[in-house]
Amino acid sequence: MLKILKYSFFDLMRSRWSYVYFAFYLLLGIVLLFLNNDLSKAVITLMNVIIVLVPLIGTIFGVMYYYNSKEFTELLLAQPLKRSSIFLGQYLGVAISLSMSLILGLGIPFIAYGLFKSNAIWDFSLLLITGIFLTLIFTALAFNIALSNENKIRGFAYAILLWLFLAIIYDGIFLMSLILFEDYPLDKLSLIGTMLNPIDLSRTLILLKLDISALLGYTGAVFKKFFGTNLGLIISFIMLSLWVILPVLRITFKSKKKDF
């Protein structure tokens, strides 16, 4: 698997898009830090960008990479390699190179700004960890979609819809249901609702850590009341890990049964 990972990773590292993605974060980091001068505000703004953008890029890159490397995959399948190592290697190649762009793109301006001397280092680390989780989750979901759809256009459409649903529509439905059923106790519902969406989960996780009650919203407040800050953090991490593990398991399962 490591060999496949290596080839996929270097293949992507040579691609223009990795640099565009990296440059975007670099620019965003520089603008936010040096024009804003307030580190914790910069972290919050970054959170809002990361939570929407990372899933989008992860999904699109994942689907794109899978379909573009179809020929490569077929070549590999005839070699004495396990199917699971081929697909997991490719998946990790994409996810790691995207995470690298994120870490370096944001890390460089923050370090230049003097992150190591400030208290925001944990907030910032958490932000990066969540970003990496989201990359792992959405790239895995994208690979799942691509594996299940031979048709490229359909695969792309499903991937975009998935992102749109989890990033925007889900919140809308969630909010509507909270308003609709406001006469009933909604603690459990909103807890489950948050856990079932990795984007919401990440947002709650970061806000819990930043401890900004004003931004927490209803679900965040329930989360905090229910679990407390520390347990809340741990539970969110467990849920995020599950969100990585389950799609990855499906990749190995699905790839074993597929015809090429």
Partner: protein, 235 residues
């Protein structure tokens, strides 16, 4: 070498292989023939584990291939259409496949044989179909495996390369290897193969030597013998 029992495969509702029983002994050149869409490539891909059969067992060198990948060390496979990652250079691809399988020095000889040296630094996406096929041949023949599977090996090759390919196949046969070939070029099949396996509608219609086929169909010419099978069955 390869034994296949009761192999079934369908894609959605389209039945491609319908109970194939085939056993291929060690040593010699076997041509797998059949009309378009008869399931030749599916059969080959099943042997390679790229297509998962719905039913049936396949043994390669005495080992059941189900859920196994290690047996592919013993197979060299030439895919039908040379679809390579287009942003890789020829020498990078060769290096990569060597890295993934095992070390070999045969590639240098093959590169010379097919006169590929000027193309080594070119990207695969910029190569002509014939040159891609030559790269494909290098990748296949550079390992020393007991079973060689060639899917339409002649596609796009010029006459010189074709002669080289025939020599190459002959040398491998003389080493005692088993070679499976599919091709639509009947003269090529007639020239190289020891035995033919004819697939029709997902089943083995005929297995034997070319002479036996000619006798069976009462045709003196191999191409006509094949054509007569097809017309008699589709009339």
């Amino acid at each position: 070498m390869v034994s296949i029992e009761n192999l079934h495969k369908k894609f959605n509702k389209n039945v491609v292989l319908n109970g194939i029983d085939l056993s291929i002994i060690e040593g010699g050149i076997f041509a797998i023939l059949g009309p378009n869409g008869s399931g030749k490539t599916t059969l080959i891909k099943s042997i390679l584990g790229m297509v998962i059969p719905n039913k049936g067992t396949i043994n390669v060198l005495g080992e059941n291939i189900k859920n196994s990948s290690h047996y592919r060390h013993k197979i060299d496979y030439l895919p039908q259409i040379a679809n390579f990652p287009s942003n890789l250079k020829v020498k990078e691809l060769i290096k990569m496949i060597k890295d993934l399988r095992s070390h070999t020095n045969e590639d240098q000889r093959l590169i010379q044989l097919f006169k590929l040296a000027p193309f080594l630094d070119k990207k695969l996406g910029n190569l002509s179909g014939g040159t891609k096929q030559k790269v494909n041949l290098v990748l296949t023949f550079m390992f020393d495996s007991p079973l060689i599977i060639l899917d339409e090996p002649t596609t796009g090759l010029d006459p010189i390369a074709l002669i080289r390919l025939k020599d190459l196949i002959q040398t491998e046969k003389d080493k005692g290897k088993t070679i499976l070939i599919t091709s639509h070029i009947m003269s090529f099949v007639e020239e190289v193969s020891d035995e033919i396996v004819f697939i029709l509608e997902g089943q083995i219609y005929f297995k034997g030597s070319i002479l036996e086929l000619k006798n069976k169909t009462n045709q003196s010419d191999f191409e006509h013998a094949i054509a007569s099978i097809l017309t008699n069955n589709h009339a």
